[in-house]
Amino acid sequence: MSIDFDEVSVGDKLPEWSRRTGFAEWNRYAAVNEEFVPFHMDDEAGRRAGNEQGAFGMGNLRYAYIVNALHDWLGDDGIVREVGCQYRAINQKNDVLTVVGEVIEKTVVDGENRVRIDINVMNQDGGRTCPGHAVVVLPSGRP
């Protein structure tokens, strides 16, 4: 099941989706994406790369969190059509990352019910680490 296009309004907020991130999350992501970059795995390597606090998280994992937040809001029958974002701040160890989003447009294109969403990944200090957007497709008029 998924939410219905007719139930969505411009201005609606996505349910917040959060994870505390550190080596437990980064190492699992490195394992599936084969992303064993030293500055994601080792504090010394992180410092050598210019981050005084040590190792830091992958941009790709933040991207995954955006996709997951969209999926969990849409339900299994929704379709993620487009996701774009920019990596603006470093994901430090023990950051609590929260995906936030707001519906900014509803359109019907090529027979698809499309919803455009402004997206960001906030850290616990209110830092907007990953501004972006998404376009999702929803069913409509179901009983």
């Binding site: 994870r19 437990a24 999350e25 699992r28 992501y29 394992a31 599936v32 994406n33 084969e34 992303e35 941009g59 790709n60 994992l61 991207y63 995954a64 969190y65 996709v67 997951n68 999926h71 969990d72 299994d76 029958d77 379709i79 993620v80 059509r81 487009e82 996701v83 774009g84 974002c85 920019q86 990596y87 972006g132």
Partner: protein
């Protein structure tokens, strides 16, 4: 017209000098110019398995349980997808036995002190077509689209935009990525 009065002629000369200075420091290589717009060779990933998808979803949802659509075939058969699908961000190209040689042409530039450029992921926009499913074989090709340079917080910085297209075994578009890489 630039030469219509002395004032604008001076401006033009100044602009020329600035342009020459800017031209003197560039991270754009001949290889990049030659490669612009040209699709590179096709890479093909091994067939996607249910285990690949389950592990991906478990890693990106950790420590919570991922949705059943990513690991429960009986449940997934009841959805409109008709079976397990991969999360849109799933990467079937992880863990190649033989890694493709040579990086993107954007990677080869050097700083004026001779050191290789430092690279960062500047972000991307992905457009998704059909979902990836167990058994799918995905192929990728990419091309340099364009680039621009500016003086930034990290000094002289090159931004390179690359398009990466994924298709499945039925030649259906799976994903089209416009990616920005940063070199400084």
């Amino acid at each position: 017209m630039a030469g219509d009065d002395p004032g604008s002629t001076q401006t033009t000369e100044l602009e020329d000098i600035l342009r020459m200075r800017n031209d003197a420091l560039t991270y754009v290589t001949e290889e990049m110019r030659a490669a612009q717009g040209q699709w590179g060779g096709t890479r093909t990933a091994p067939p996607i398995t249910e285990t690949d998808i389950r592990r991906w979803a478990m890693a990106t949802y950790y420590p919570k349980q991922p949705p059943r659509i990513y690991w429960d075939a009986d449940y997934a058969a009841t959805t409109h997808w008709g079976g397990i699908v991969a999360p849109p961000d799933f990467n079937p190209f992880a863990w190649p036995v033989e890694r493709a040689r040579g990086g993107s042409p954007g990677l080869t530039g050097r700083r004026s002190d001779g050191k290789p450029l430092t690279g960062m992921n500047g972000g991307q926009t992905d457009t998704y077509g059909v979902p990836m499913r167990p058994g799918d074989v995905v192929s990728a090709r990419s091309r340099l689209v364009d680039w621009w340079e500016r003086e930034g917080r990290l000094g002289h910085t090159l931004y390179v935009r690359t398009e990466i297209e994924w298709r499945n075994q039925d030649d259906e578009i799976v994903r089209r990525r416009m990616s920005i890489s940063i070199r400084y």
